[in-house]
């Protein structure tokens, strides 16, 4: 091969690459609204890492010439007004093609009308408020709803779980009330008795007085929902300080209470705690093993991935697949059409699908117990409710 030939081929390759680039060169912008500062910053960190990891592992899957830009914004916590302004700016200033992230339901509920007005496909990585996907035809969810988890969990608790009397203690905001309503319905329909219920302030709560009230009522168990992360650890500490385990009161709830990434901070207190959830990093599915291994390669051992991170990962998986389906030109309506019925058999949490009717996620719901594996606490899945839909949407059909 002569050097001249080399130069010619190189020039031809560059020209071809440029032509291809100019034909489909497009930067797709994703506005990511998460909590990056303040007491809940660990949640934003989990989701952000999940998203970044997906992009790192799958970046080469994008159509040629298409690149992805994440524009990150800090909503500072449960702060709907701020989140709404950030979304508005991302839409009008940065002209994002997608919105993603969304930890707090109230923030997401404030953003949803904007996504409808501006036709920006919006993927919730965590926000679980059940009516979120009803507020805008451009919202899809890859996390879960509390009804999806807690209604079957209530049924399970009253039957196989063997609980008779349960006290409900939940955070005083939309997802807390939904968890309480769903669990209560499932539990009572299956013959259980709800002793009483209490709502705990969602910002900076002190759990001790509330759990003391629970302790005085002597139920078999207390059903809890709190926002995940550091609040979960504070709750577990209050449970331990009040010696509730010794008093024979079990603590049960959704996965937000024993997130995988917080388990190392909780001591041995959570041993035996039963929760309902969508993801545990201790699961032995091959897709999960690969995910956890990739996570450790990228971020080390210090903070293991939890269910929030998988919300970030799957949000990116959904966005990637929508970009591919629209050939790199993500027209909002085509994106939503591509997301309707979208399936990912290889999510770390098992198979997932977006329900074409409701744009909400359909997935396996796991009942798990905290056990010690190799010296570390882990959420061990012991029962699977396969491909569960959100039951609230069936119980409350849209009014038209």
């Amino acid at each position: 091969m002569t050097s001249r030939f080399g130069v010619v081929t190189l020039a031809a390759a560059i020209a071809a690459a440029l032509a291809a680039a100019s034909a489909s060169a497009e930067t797709i912008k994703v506005g990511v609204i998460l909590t990056y500062s303040g007491p809940a910053a660990s949640l934003g960190d989990q989701i952000d890492k999940g998203m970044s990891l997906y992009i790192k592992e799958h970046g080469h899957d994008l159509p040629q010439g298409v690149s992805l830009e994440l524009i990150r914004r800090d909503d500072t916590g449960l702060n709907p007004a701020t989140a709404k302004r950030l979304a508005q700016e991302l839409i009008t200033r940065d002209h994002v093609n997608f919105l993603a992230g969304l930890i707090w339901s109230p923030n997401a509920l404030a953003i949803a009308p904007l996504s409808a007005e501006a036709k920006v496909p919006t993927i919730s990585s965590n926000a679980a408020a059940v009516n979120l996907t009803r507020l805008s035809p451009y919202v899809a969810r890859v996390s879960f709803t509390l009804w999806q988890e807690c209604l079957p969990f209530g049924k399970w608790a009253a039957t196989k779980g063997g609980f008779k009397k349960v006290y409900i203690a939940v955070s005083d905001f939309a997802p807390g009330h939904e968890a309480a309503d769903a669990f209560s319905k499932g539990f009572k329909d299956a013959g259980g008795e709800i002793v009483d219920s209490v709502a705990i302030p969602v910002k900076d709560p002190d759990f001790v007085p509330y759990l003391q009230r629970v302790k005085d009522a002597k139920p078999d168990a207390v059903f809890v929902f709190v926002p995940s992360g550091k609040q979960a650890t504070a709750l577990m500490k209050a449970y331990s300080d009040l010696n509730m385990k010794a008093a024979g009161i079990k603590i049960i709830g959704s996965q937000d209470m024993v997130p995988d990434e917080e388990l190392p901070n909780m001591g041995d207190e959570p041993l035996g705690v039963i929760t309902v959830g969508t993801y545990s990093n201790a699961a032995t599915r091959p897709a999960n093993k690969a995910y956890v291994a990739a996570w450790k390669r990228e971020y080390g051992d210090k903070t293991p991935p939890g269910f929030m991170s998988v919300g970030g990962w799957d949000a990116m998986a959904a966005i990637f697949s929508a970009i591919k389906a629209t050939g790199g030109h993500p027209d909002p309506d085509k994106v939503m059409a591509a997301l309707a019925g979208w399936k990912n058999p290889d999510s770390p949490r098992g198979e997932i699908m977006i329900d074409p009717e409701t744009r909400d996620i359909v997935q396996h719901i796991y009942i798990r117990r905290v056990e010690k594996v190799g010296g570390h606490l882990a959420n061990i899945e012991f029962e699977t409710l396969p491909m569960t839909k959100d039951p609230w949407k069936e119980l409350n059909p849209p009014k038209n």
Partner: protein, 333 residues
């Protein structure tokens, strides 16, 4: 105040007092800047509207803190009361924006009158604590009354009608910006008028030497109460503007953080000068916007650094600094 009423005072001082109420050309500068911003930064109008709202809110604090010497950390009580008034009206079928502002002003003003009648009998730290308590109590009440206010989830389902029946509050914030600018301008004219009126002068007198004002027969308590209620109404209008332009009200509208950061913005700009908010608020909010975009994780740190620099090097706020620099160059400000 007429010059001949002051008798033997130095003629220069009399002249200065008599001329203080006349509009000077440089007073148009902030308004020209605001109009220019509309054309120069069309994609920043939502932020611009929020800056205008924060200026109005901070102006209300300047009136009571800077002129009447009433220290407060609870002005957000009135901001939130106004926001929820306009929000609840719009969520229950009355989305006309201008009457929403009037209703918000009335509710917040009455609340200021009622709470002021009780707490303005105290001074200094106790007063500071009481203002804080009122705001905290209101916030907790709004949190508990979740059926009415939506609690921590915020008020959902506001429907604000187009302004004057024509201009929709769209996504790009054009209507919102112009609306806020016009409202701010009108209320600023009123505030300016008050500050330069005999009533306003007597407030400054109360701030500087209350005993002497009692001695000359000035109704001190009543004057403090009137300005407190007026500032409350201004805050209420600011809250209503935020509710109407963002079509959302959350518990944070009543929160301490709002009062605290308004105080910081006022201190950055300069207290008791009527123009402090016009300097401090844009500076703080634009800096916050830039920092938060450049560094979503540690932006709080950079804001803190900026504050330390201002407090250390610009006592009396940026306006105070400007005044000192002008004096040093031998010119009168």
């Amino acid at each position: 105040m007429r010059a001949d009423a002051v008798g033997g005072a130095a003629p220069q001082a009399v002249e200065a007092l008599a001329r203080a109420h006349r509009l000077k050309p440089w007073e148009l500068a902030p308004w020209l800047a605001a109009i220019a911003a509309y054309f120069l930064f069309p994609s920043y109008l939502p932020l611009g509207a929020q800056i205008l709202i924060a200026i109005l809110f901070t102006l209300s604090i300047d009136l009571i803190l800077g002129y009447a010497g009433i220290v407060t950390l609870g002005q957000s009580a009135f901001f939130g009361a106004g926001a929820y008034t306009a929000g609840l009206l719009a969520a229950h079928g009355w989305g006309e924006p201008i009457s929403g502002l009037a209703a918000a002003a009335a509710v917040a003003g009455l609340l200021g009158l009622a709470s002021g009648a009780v707490i303005l009998r105290t001074r200094g730290l106790s007063l500071l604590m009481l203002t804080l308590v009122i705001a905290e109590m209101l916030q907790e009440a709004a949190n508990k009354a979740g059926d009415i206010t939506g609690g921590a989830d915020g008020l959902q389902g506001m429907e604000v009608w187009p302004l004057l029946g024509h201009f929709e509050f769209g996504l790009f914030g054009r209507t919102a910006y112009v609306y806020c600018l016009v409202v701010l301008f009108l209320l600023w004219l009123v505030a300016r008028r008050i500050v330069h009126s005999p009533f306003g002068r007597s407030l400054t007198g109360i701030r500087e030497n209350e005993a002497r004002m009692h001695a000359i027969g000035s109704p001190v308590f009543r004057r403090r109460l009137v300005i407190y209620a007026f500032a409350a109404a201004l805050s209420g209008i600011a809250g209503a503007l935020l509710a109407e332009t963002t079509q959302f009200v959350g518990l944070d509208s009543l929160g301490f953080e709002r009062s605290g950061s308004a105080l910081i913005m006022l201190i950055i700009g300069g207290v008791g000068r009527l123009y402090g908010p016009f300097i401090g608020v844009p500076l703080y909010m634009v800096a916050q916007d830039r920092f938060a975009q450049a560094d979503p994780v540690y932006w709080d740190f950079w804001i803190g650094l900026l504050l330390i620099i201002v407090v250390v090097f610009a006592r009396g706020g940026l306006l105070g600094l400007a005044e000192r620099l002008l004096r040093r160059r031998g010119r009168k400000p």
